[in-house]
Subunit: 117 residues, 2 copies
């Protein structure tokens, strides 16, 4: 068993967002996805992002307001959200407490790129 | 974008543990893993489990005391733990608040079955 600490791992700033990339854990190809935690400070938003990878995110602290397709959706602690490939998105933290998200992302085979919006 | 609510989804009891299996969301093969949330009530433990799938878990509420290889390791909210294929494990909730865990699990190719213990 291995454990991974979201608070003591190496963090990379991406704008106002702090990112803990799982590449630092040296898991090679054991996971069928890449992973990260990211933190959005109170009152801030993640940079607008768009990428070929499908991305599944789980809120582990705080509440996310997730903007995609012109709609903002509230996602509570513990719940999850899924971006389709190339779907533009922004994650807002409207609260006065930190927002932390765990994300797994992967490039899907073309035949699996169903529209999940 | 799709969202998945850990609290309003269909729950299956497994002993004292409540499990929310992601099969109910009909994602087909979009995800390269299977997924679930599970909740361990205060003072309780998950059934002892062992399976061929590698399993990555993220604590989304409470604190886990994870037993594997004869060692119990505390894992705080937000942090993660990874079981190798066929590694026996039990997850204890020693606290007086609910413990909820998000888990992704998958069968790895034989050449990826590195020992991650």
């Amino acid at each position: 068993m291995r454990t991974f600490d979201c608070r003591s791992s190496t963090t990379t700033p991406v704008g106002v967002v702090d990112v803990v990339r799982w590449e630092q854990f040296g898991l090679g190809e054991l996971l069928p996805f890449q992973a990260m935690w990211y933190s959005v400070p109170p009152g801030e938003s993640s940079p607008r992002d768009q990428h070929p990878e499908v991305e599944l995110s789980v809120v582990v602290s705080g509440t996310a307001h997730v903007e995609a397709g012109g709609v903002v959706t509230e996602v509570a602690t513990g719940s999850a959200f899924l971006f389709d490939s190339c779907e533009p998105h922004v994650v807002h933290n409207h609260a006065d407490q930190p927002l932390m998200v765990f994300s797994a992302y992967w490039t899907n085979r073309p035949d699996r790129l169903a529209n999940v919006a």
